[in-house]
């Protein structure tokens, strides 16, 4: 227990030293935070993303100076855009940050469904974790791999039914992109959630479906569902042998979730927050808690996070233009 406390103290000191060394102007960050920081969560209480943030935030608190505390605010709905809009409208004083996935920042603005115009309207603090989504086929499927599925689809346009959990979202766009680049016509079937897609796959209603990796581990082990290709860039270690779209020569998509702040948040406060998040993600206790839940920690600093966002935004916009959704 004491060694643990000591370790925490040293990490905080190290972080503080690092922050001081890297930030030339300490005006805003000095004494920061003076009051609780609001962390906006784009998910309802008890939801998947909510529980992840609730696991992480105490560790970030610990790594911030001045006995920092967070107040979590749940603003679910409208593909996270309600929460992201709340960050957009908040004062850029360092006392509001938000968790956001890529859909509200690189897809929804292009569809004209947001008050902000895109990721450029925010300060990207740091990325926290990545997710992988797989094209999955049920037990007894004639398709052992992506090539077989695409070959069959090419010969039989519109016949292979692939379930996704929404339209123009992080599952639908990569699928449409794959269809465009492989020149095949799949029948995309929209469900409301991954749970519904799973049910449809197990019930034989569809030939394939896109599912997040962490909810098909049990089925994969039992052999009832078989992931054949990762549509995202990052691969989890438990599916290391399964190829990704990138391995097969197609453009992968990306699904990463990070922390954002209102545009104009002082840069030294941003650095303080990023440093605390980075240090938190190195704490063994948090690493263990997230590993148990099959969350792939992937810390990116602000610059890398921004670079990935720009890259994905171009890809997603391109898909929407190719589809004729966006002029």
């Amino acid at each position: 227990m004491f060694t643990f406390l000591k370790k925490t103290a040293t990490t905080s000191l190290a972080v503080a030293a690092m922050v001081m060394a890297t930030a030339p102007t300490m005006v805003a960050a000095e004494g920061y935070p003076e009051k609780p920081i609001t962390w906006i969560v784009p998910d309802g209480a008890g939801g998947g993303l909510d529980t992840i943030v609730r696991t992480i935030y105490p560790f970030v608190e610990k790594n911030l100076p001045n006995d920092a505390t967070f107040v979590l605010k749940n603003l679910p709905g409208a593909t996270q855009t309600i929460a992201v809009s709340a960050v957009y409208n908040a004062e850029p004083d360092g006392y509001t940050i938000g968790q956001a996935s890529v859909a509200p920042l690189t897809i929804m603005p292009h569809l004209g469904k947001t008050s902000y115009s895109g990721y450029e309207d925010f300060e990207l603090i740091s990325n926290v974790f990545d997710a992988a989504h797989y094209i999955v086929v049920p037990e007894g499927s004639p398709f052992a791999n992506l090539e077989e599925l695409l070959a069959h689809a090419k010969a039989n346009p519109g016949e292979v039914r692939v379930g996704v959990d929404g339209v123009f979202n992080v599952q639908h766009l990569p699928l449409l992109n794959l269809e465009l680049s492989a020149e095949v016509d799949l029948n995309e079937i929209t469900y409301k959630s991954s749970a519904e897609t799973k049910k449809a796959l197990l019930g034989g209603e569809i030939e394939a479906g896109i599912m997040p990796s962490h909810i098909i581990i049990s089925e994969y082990e039992a052999g009832t569902l078989n992931p054949i290709v990762d549509v995202m860039e990052v691969k989890p270690d438990y599916f290391a042998d399964i190829p990704s779209l990138k391995d097969l020569g197609y453009t992968p998509s990306q699904l990463f979730v990070g922390v954002i702040a209102p545009k104009g948040t002082p840069s030294d406060i941003q650095a303080t927050l990023a440093g605390a998040i980075e240090a938190a993600l190195q704490e063994p206790e948090l690493i263990e808690a997230l590993a148990k839940r099959k969350i792939m920690i992937n810390y990116n600093d602000s610059e890398t996070y921004l670079g990935r966002m720009q890259e994905l935004d171009v890809v997603n916009k391109g898909i929407l233009v190719d589809l004729g959704v966006l002029k």
Partner: protein
């Protein structure tokens, strides 16, 4: 039979029992508060489970879920305001009985049938969960569409004599159910550029507005210097053997229907209570008592919503498919402990699964005992003068709506809906027809369109499995039966 002995020792630990009791009390109180409901109660207790052993944590959440299903009926009966969507059907007979006869008795009917429903769901879970989960997979999009249509036909059975008003109510519910981003095309429908409407009208705001806020307006318009039962009489909660016998049949029907719909992910308790109410009111020996405080009208929906809780655990544990919002949160507790629900959970986490099975029965027992203890206190609510009651309930409603999504927009929405439904109630429109149509609209629409997409536009999809054919035949039979009965009635009245 070793499974019976194996785990009982693990089950009856002090931690487990305390957790179950805590969950039961929280669930019952939250269920009874309009707008707060089961989902919020489960979400609230979820962080507490992180520090507990897996079995204790999960049993606490299941106890909350179970007790919330009964708790919802408490305010439905006492105030005519369902605490949860699953208790909406309980209002129809529960509230009249509480006002005209005895609130204590109405609550006792609800508690007893809820407990029997819960035990029934538990037994379904223990004995046939794996085959049942596989069976449920046979119900695909076409079958869901047909089930939704059958549910809508049940509205016809529920509604009173005025068919035109009833049809208008159904249409209003269907329209309300289409608001939001269209699941299949991504187009905004009737959202008026409000992001808060993109996921549809918030069910909690809708329910609280139409039941609670409109009811508060009714109470105000009737005068505030009264109370429902001023003399404090008839608060006794005991039931005689004869009274218990009277609800055996509806409770069994309700339990069967509840467990049956519970195993179908996405249909759940909100619809099952109406299915149960419709079937029981149609097959009862005293159909004329329904709507005026029939014990059968309380027993049917209440047993069904608790049985559906057990049913909903079937696809969740056996297939890893959460069937309702509350179960999705309980799934979070599993994942948090590194347990993946799914086909392997029965072998990999054998002790845990059987602990949950028997613990589930235990949560029902806890619900009954805690319910017995709290019911007399709850039933005294109706002695409170309306001037106090209205303000307290109104504040609770506002808290409940805000807690569901932290959106101020929903408060105004609920107020607007409350005003509209106050007018509709005064004009004798059926509020229950609106809510059931609202619940069923997305099930019917999405599954209809999805079925046609699956079949590339071919309508044969609705006759492609034995299950869909049976469902179509049921629809035809119900339609034919009512037309035939109508013709017969007209002949006898004219000739």
């Amino acid at each position: 039979m070793d499974i019976f002995i194996n785990d009982l020792g693990n089950l009856f630990t002090l931690t487990n029992i305390l957790c179950i009791l805590l969950g039961t009390v929280v669930g019952m109180v939250f269920g009874a508060l309009p707008g707060l409901g089961t989902v919020i109660a489960v979400a609230l207790l979820l962080p507490v489970t992180f520090t507990l052993p897996p079995l204790a944590g999960i049993l606490m959440l299941l106890a909350t879920y179970q007790a919330g299903e009964y708790g919802g009926s408490i305010s439905a009966i006492l105030l005519g305001v369902p605490g949860t969507p699953q208790a909406a059907a309980t209002v129809i007979d529960g509230h009249p009985m509480a006002v005209n006869d005895s609130p204590g008795k109405a609550l006792s009917y609800s508690l007893l049938s809820s407990s029997i429903g819960g035990i029934f769901g538990g037994f379904v879970l223990i004995f046939i969960s794996v085959p049942l989960a596989k069976f449920a997979l046979n119900f695909g999009s076409p079958e869901y569409f047909l089930l939704g249509v059958i549910g809508l036909m049940a509205v016809g059975l529920l509604s009173g004599t005025d068919k035109i008003k009833s049809s208008i109510s159904v249409l209003l519910g269907l329209i309300a159910g289409t608001v939001g981003v269209d699941t299949l095309t991504g187009v905004n429908r009737a959202t008026f550029n409000q992001p808060e409407l993109m996921d549809g009208i918030n069910l909690v705001a809708f329910l609280v507005g139409m039941f609670a806020i409109s009811e508060l307006f009714m109470m105000i318009s009737k005068g505030l210097n009264t109370s429902y039962s001023g003399d404090g009489q008839n608060l006794k909660t005991g039931l005689t053997a004869k009274e218990v016998k009277g609800i055996v049949k509806p409770t069994l029907i309700g339990s069967l229907i509840g467990a049956g719909t519970g195993i179908l992910p996405g249909i759940g308790g909100g619809a099952s209570c109406w299915f149960a109410y419709a079937v029981v009111s149609k097959t009862s020996k005293n159909p004329e008592a329904f709507g005026k405080g029939s014990p059968e009208g309380i027993a049917a929906p209440e047993s069904s919503n608790n049985a559906s809780a057990g049913g909903a655990l079937v696809p969740f544990l056996a297939l890893g498919i959460p069937g309702s919002a509350a179960i999705a949160i309980i799934m979070g507790a599993f994942i948090m402990h590194g347990i993946q629900p799914g086909p392997n959970v029965f072998t990999a986490e054998r002790d845990l699964v059987y602990g949950i099975f028997y613990g589930f029965i235990l949560t029902t027992v806890a619900m009954y005992l805690v319910g017995r203890l709290l019911t007399p206190a709850f039933s005294r609510v109706l002695v409170v003068p309306n001037s106090f009651l209205v303000s307290i309930v109104f504040v609770l409603c506002l808290i409940g709506i805000y807690a569901s999504k932290s959106a101020f927009f929903d408060l105004w929405l609920a107020l607007g809906i409350g005003v509209v439904f106050y007018v509709l109630k005064r004009l004798n429109y059926s509020v229950s027809s609106v809510i059931i149509a609202y619940v069923l609209a997305p099930i019917i629409e999405e599954n209809f369109r999805r079925s046609l997409t699956l079949a590339n536009g071919n309508y044969d999809v609705f006759f492609s499995s034995i299950y869909s054919i049976v469902l179509v035949l049921m629809i035809v039979a119900a339609l034919g039966g009512s037309i035939f009965a109508d013709i017969k009635k007209r002949r006898t009245t004219t000739g």
